[in-house]
């Protein structure tokens, strides 16, 4: 809401500074976003008086003027406007001043004659689009005086953010009430004088309201003999200052009253209304209607329309129709002032994407008691500005008259809720200042009847808020409460937030960078990963096609991060992300199953630093070790890693299983997918299910095992195995022999000898076997015996040599 300070001062005798006003309104909940100076661009312009005007000797279309700008000598200005003439009062930009578009006016010569400035058109001043000639100012202005001051332009405008509950403040009057309250000033609402003439016309247009729920009241006045034209300069300046476009005197008056008093009005050309009546009724389903912006709209049976005897003439409360709009030849006006149901207006305006100043106010609610008065003010002003006569009487229907609710207020409840000892007298005075009628103040429960402009007063708590607002929210002293909780509600389970925090701390501590990506990606991203389509959640109204699906995997986001970082010269990346993935699930109350995922990405350089680290690149072992580290950290048990049969976007893909629970997959992003993200090296990835992990973590328990008393003994064996044999097969085979003394088996070296041409490629795997007896120290011969069992078992079961 744009509020002109000059306009405000017509409603309340405020004399303070703009800063004081800004502070007071903001602290009353009418947040001032910005102080706008709409005429800042023309602040250097002055009033000029054309003393002489002659044709340019060299150019037919140019005039050479002497313009008095209050200096000793009049300025010589060459002007090309057809309407420039002696005796005009004009707006002048002098040499050295700047135009609103930033152009600096310089001394110049036009066809040999020097020009010392410029006379401006309305467009150059920003008052209208008019550019056919220079603007002719009213007579009597002092030459040389500042233009903005001379024209009394609204040079200071506040942009105030009005919250949806404060419909009452969507007008100069509404804000003036708040200013009066804040500074304890009287309201000085401008007077008006409506003169009616002729016969009573209240039956000339009958008003029928078919849907009383959607139209609470409808008033109309008939004006005759209007001369349409431009509205006076002061009104146009003012409308421009508060962001409205001047159109014609008739339309401008309806807008002026709406901005001043908050009641949207509409002027019909009475000669274009058929059948002498107004019917307020819903549209026919599928009906086509051309609004006055010349757009054809398709209506629904729910849309409330203003109709005449035969057709729709306006979208009620939203916009008038082209078929009944005021035009250059209009003389008879039917002026509408009505109140429509907020929800109905909002539905129509939203569906048609057509938010007007009128619909904005109707959606929030207008003051029904003021509705006829606003119409009368507009009628009086129209009579004044268009020469129209206002016919006697009002055409009206009011199926749902305003009934003030009777509400209650308990000062003690107010004190309890605010935590401040506010006196009864303050509460009473505040509510009365806000226009409420307060009775029964000698009892604990008061009766409060709100004014018709405050539709937001519906409950006791609304009054409590008002008391707090006027008392000053910022005066409330802080008190730190005791937090009480019940034993039953206590919950010690590790919830998702806590579990994720644990993993995040682990990841950061291990040396990974935490990433956070949008939860939505494009369907095309998911397609690239060969992900199924049937379980996806599509966003109905995405911002772009890159964000039209909820992600069913985190991988696309992390790969995008990889591309971004590679693009910025990064050569090694270790990212992790914890987030939800989203899949369709009919059994969920939100139709979506959200599951927790931890994804890790390794790429390129293994280390951030060079020397003394050897340059090397991340490989499978790094990712596997990282995952093993996490699982050990969480105490979830020994994982097994087995090659997955098939995976949509990783190859190789290795399933990670603990017990009989699959917790995820690790592997390498398919090269063709990686390539799409500009990754030329292997991208190692882990995709783990944090829901499964959390369950395992919650049920895991850490138990202390006594430290061994006797020393262990170790023995190394080197197994020569075909290169295709998984190391795990050897571990498994040894485990299968179930040697009670074997405490630990570790792979300590791998050597791949050069194979003879026709021989099978082998590798030498050296394992360290650690043996321990719980009650004695093992001797060499005991160890040898155990070793032989291992050798025997391996050689018998696997194609290996020792």
């Amino acid at each position: 809401m744009l509020l002109s300070i000059n306009w405000l001062k017509e409603f309340v005798p405020f004399t303070g500074t703009i800063q004081e006003l800004d502070d007071a309104l903001t602290m009353l909940g009418l947040e001032v976003e910005e102080v706008i100076r709409p005429f800042e661009g023309i602040k250097e312009m002055v009033v000029g008086y054309v003393v002489e005007c002659e044709k340019h000797p060299e150019a037919e279309k140019l005039s050479v003027c002497k313009v008095d700008v209050g200096e000793e000598e009049p300025l010589n200005i060459v002007c090309g406007a057809p309407n420039v003439r002696k005796g005009l009062t004009v707006a002048v930009v002098k040499v050295g001043s700047v135009m609103p578009d930033g152009t600096k006016i310089k001394k110049t010569k036009l066809r040999g004659i020097p020009s010392m400035g410029m006379i401006c058109s309305e467009r150059e001043l920003g008052f209208s689009e008019e550019h056919d000639g220079i603007m002719e100012l009213e007579e009597g202005l002092v030459p040389g005086a500042n233009l903005v001051e001379s024209l009394k332009l609204d040079d200071e405008v506040l942009d105030i953010s009005i919250t949806p509950n404060r419909a009452d403040s969507l007008s100069v009057l509404g804000i003036a009430r708040e200013v009066a309250l804040a500074f304890d000033l009287p309201l000085t609402v401008p007077e008006y004088n409506l003169v009616e003439s002729g016969d009573d016309c209240s039956e000339e247009v009958t008003i029928e309201i078919a849907d009383a729920d959607k139209c609470y009241c409808y008033h109309g006045r008939i004006l005759e003999g209007a001369a349409i034209g431009q509205s006076p300069a002061w009104m146009r300046y003012r409308l421009v200052a508060v962001g409205l476009r001047p159109i014609s005197n008739i339309v401008d008056v309806t807008n002026y009253i709406m901005m001043g008093f908050g009641q949207p009005l509409h002027a019909f050309d009475l000669d274009r209304l058929e059948g002498g009546k107004i019917v307020v009724d819903t549209a026919a389903e599928g009906e086509k209607f051309v609004t006055l912006d010349e757009q054809e709209r398709t209506l629904k049976a729910d849309d409330l329309m203003i109709k005449d005897g035969s057709r729709s003439v306006a979208l009620a409360g939203v916009m008038g129709g082209a078929n009944s709009e005021i035009h250059d030849g209009s003389t008879r006006i039917f002026l509408e002032s009505a109140v429509f149901q907020p929800a109905s207006v909002r539905r129509t305006a939203r569906r048609l994407g057509l938010s007007s100043d009128a619909s904005f106010r109707f959606e929030r609610g207008v003051d029904q008691l003021q509705c006829p008065e606003a119409m009368d003010r507009a009628a009086a002003m129209l009579a004044d500005l268009t020469g129209a006569t206002v016919r006697k009487g009002v055409c009206k229907a009011e199926p749902k008259p305003w009934v003030a609710p009777e509400l209650t207020f308990r000062p003690q409840r107010c004190r309890d809720l605010l935590g401040v000892a506010i006196e009864d007298s303050f509460c009473k005075a505040t509510l009365e200042k806000l226009g409420c009628v307060v009775t029964g103040t000698d009892s604990e429960t008061w009766t409060v009847v709100p004014p018709s402009n405050r539709l937001d007063y519906e409950r006791e708590v609304d009054f409590i808020e008002e008391v707090a607002r006027v008392y000053g929210m910022d005066r409330i002293e802080p008190v730190l409460p005791q937090v009480k909780r019940t034993l039953e509600a206590r919950n010690d389970d590790c919830n998702e937030y806590e579990f994720w925090s644990l993993i995040k701390t682990w990841g950061c501590g291990l040396g990974l960078n935490e990433a956070i990506n949008y939860s939505f990606v494009g369907h095309t991203d998911l397609d690239l990963f060969n992900l199924p389509k049937d379980n996806r959640i599509t966003i109905m109204n995405p911002l772009s096609s890159e964000q039209d699906a909820m992600r069913t995997e985190l991988a696309p986001g992390l790969l995008q991060n990889l591309r971004h970082n590679l693009g910025h010269g990064n050569t090694g990346l270790r990212l992790f992300e914890l987030a939800h993935i989203f899949e369709a699930d009919e059994t969920s109350d939100t139709t979506v199953r959200e599951s927790g995922r931890l994804n890790i990405l390794f790429y390129g350089d293994r280390f951030d630093s060079a020397y003394p680290r050897m340059a090397s690149e991340a490989e499978y072992a790094d990712m596997k070790g990282c995952v093993e580290h996490l699982l050990a950290h969480l105490h979830v048990g020994e994982p097994s890693f087995t090659l997955a049969d098939e995976h949509a976007w990783m190859s190789p893909a290795v399933d990670v299983v603990v017990g009989d629970q699959k917790i995820g997959t690790i592997g390498r992003i398919n090269p063709e997918i990686a390539d799409a993200y500009n990754a030329k090296k292997d991208v190692w990835f882990a995709d783990l299910d944090t829901d499964v992990l959390r369950k395992l973590y919650v049920s895991a328990c850490v138990k202390f095992a006594s430290l061994p008393v006797h020393q262990s003994a170790w023995n190394d064996i080197t197994v020569i195995a075909p290169i295709t044999l998984n190391v795990q097969a050897i571990f498994d085979q040894v485990a299968a022999t179930k040697l009670p003394l074997l405490e630990k088996m570790e792979l300590i070296d791998v050597f791949v000898p050069e194979a003879a041409e026709d021989a099978e490629q082998t590798r030498n795997l050296t394992f360290r076997l650690t043996f321990r007896h719980s009650s004695k120290t093992l001797k060499d011969k005991d160890v040898d015996k155990e070793r032989k069992k291992v050798v025997y078992s391996l050689e018998n079961a696997l194609p290996v040599r020792i």
Binding site: L418, A468, M473, P478, N491, I516, N517, F520, T590, F607
Partner: protein, 345 residues
């Protein structure tokens, strides 16, 4: 040559040997050669039976003296070499060689701020709860006193999955979800991702919020102010001033917008003689919205609004992070550029 003389000449002999010994190994070799089991001293002493019983004590005594002298010489030389080696090692030591630094990880600034805030409230006795990001209209709007066609729905541009299913526009659905499950008194914090159909310099379509809710008997606005003052001063420093001004949210009444004194200029509106760009010279920055739970919200979840009152607040995590760390561009949060991430180690 008498044995005594031979013994005594060992000292001279070792001395000249040690003169040539430049390493600890050489010294050790000399020790073995002179004092070892089969060393020179031992060899001389093997000849002791050649002597008459009267001569033996004298030789024995000399042998002892010589042995001590030899040991002394060897030790002295060894110490000398050891300290020379130590001095050499120290001389070669270069403290400016790069360290073998382990990987450096980082938490996302959103996580850092979220954790800090959640920890503060945990300390005050709040439970942390989480919930779905794709929500029903009921929990996101209806239960929060935002019926369809309420103009306040304009305050949040919503991303929809269907007409009735949407991406939650705030963490407030957790208020309704918690209250439907649990009876008062309760105190919860709900951190999480939220979504709005909005994208520019100061808006991203996804961001993070933390919702707080405390319900009990006679909970007051003064207590809300106390809670938020404690929390904001812990996050932004004890000098932080907290300003309450009226606002509007459909799910709270009274509703309050909270400002803190600008952490860039300290509330002066001026930094280095320049207008402060963070608070635009007002000295205040908006930090969160809050209020007393609207009685309608209590009715929706079956609480008696006469018996219980409560407060709720919600704040944007990125906003706090931007103010706290001086981050100017919101979009950087979701690019995951490691040059950005590594600043939040």
């Amino acid at each position: 040559m008498s044995l005594i003389h031979e013994l005594e000449s060992l000292v001279q002999e070792l001395n000249s040997g040690l003169d040539q010994a430049f390493s600890l190994t050489a010294v050790e070799d000399l020790r073995v050669a002179f004092l070892g089991r089969k060393g020179k001293l031992a060899q001389i002493m093997q000849r002791l039976p050649e002597l008459s019983p009267e001569e033996r004590p004298e030789v024995g005594k000399t042998a002892n003296i010589v042995k001590n002298k030899l040991t002394g010489l060897l030790d002295e030389c060894k110490t000398k070499l050891e300290s020379a080696a130590e001095a050499d090692k120290l001389a070669k030591f270069d403290p400016s060689m790069p360290g073998r630094m382990p990987w450096q990880g980082s938490l996302h600034p959103v996580t850092k701020v979220m954790t800090e805030i959640c920890d503060i409230f945990k300390g005050l006795g709040y439970d942390i709860v989480t919930g779905p990001e794709v929500e029903n209209d009921f929990y996101n709007f209806e239960a929060l006193n935002l019926p369809p066609e309420h103009p306040a729905r304009d305050m949040q541009d919503t991303l929809y999955v269907t007409d009735n299913i949407l991406l939650r526009t705030h963490t407030s659905p957790m208020q309704a979800r918690t209250m439907l499950k649990q009876e008062p008194p309760l105190a919860i914090i709900a951190p999480g991702k939220v979504y709005r159909r909005d994208s520019d310099l100061t808006h991203t379509p996804m961001f993070h919020q933390i919702e707080g809710l405390l319900v009990g008997e006679k909970v007051s606005l003064a207590e809300l102010r106390g809670t938020l003052t404690a929390f904001l001063q812990e996050v932004f420093g004890p000098e932080t001033k907290v300003r309450f001004r009226p606002s509007f949210f459909p799910f709270t009444e009274p509703s309050v917008e909270v400002d803190i004194s600008c952490c860039m200029c300290g509330g002066d509106g001026v930094v280095d003689c320049q207008p402060c760009r963070v608070c635009k010279q007002t000295g205040w920055v908006e930090i969160l919205g809050c209020g007393m739970v609207d009685p309608e919200v209590f009715k929706k979840v079956g609480y008696d609004p006469e018996k219980y009152t409560g407060f709720a607040f919600g704040l944007g995590v990125e906003r706090v992070a931007m103010l706290k760390y001086g981050i100017g561009d919101l979009r950087m949060f979701f690019e995951n550029d490691v040059r950005f991430l590594n600043q939040f180690i």
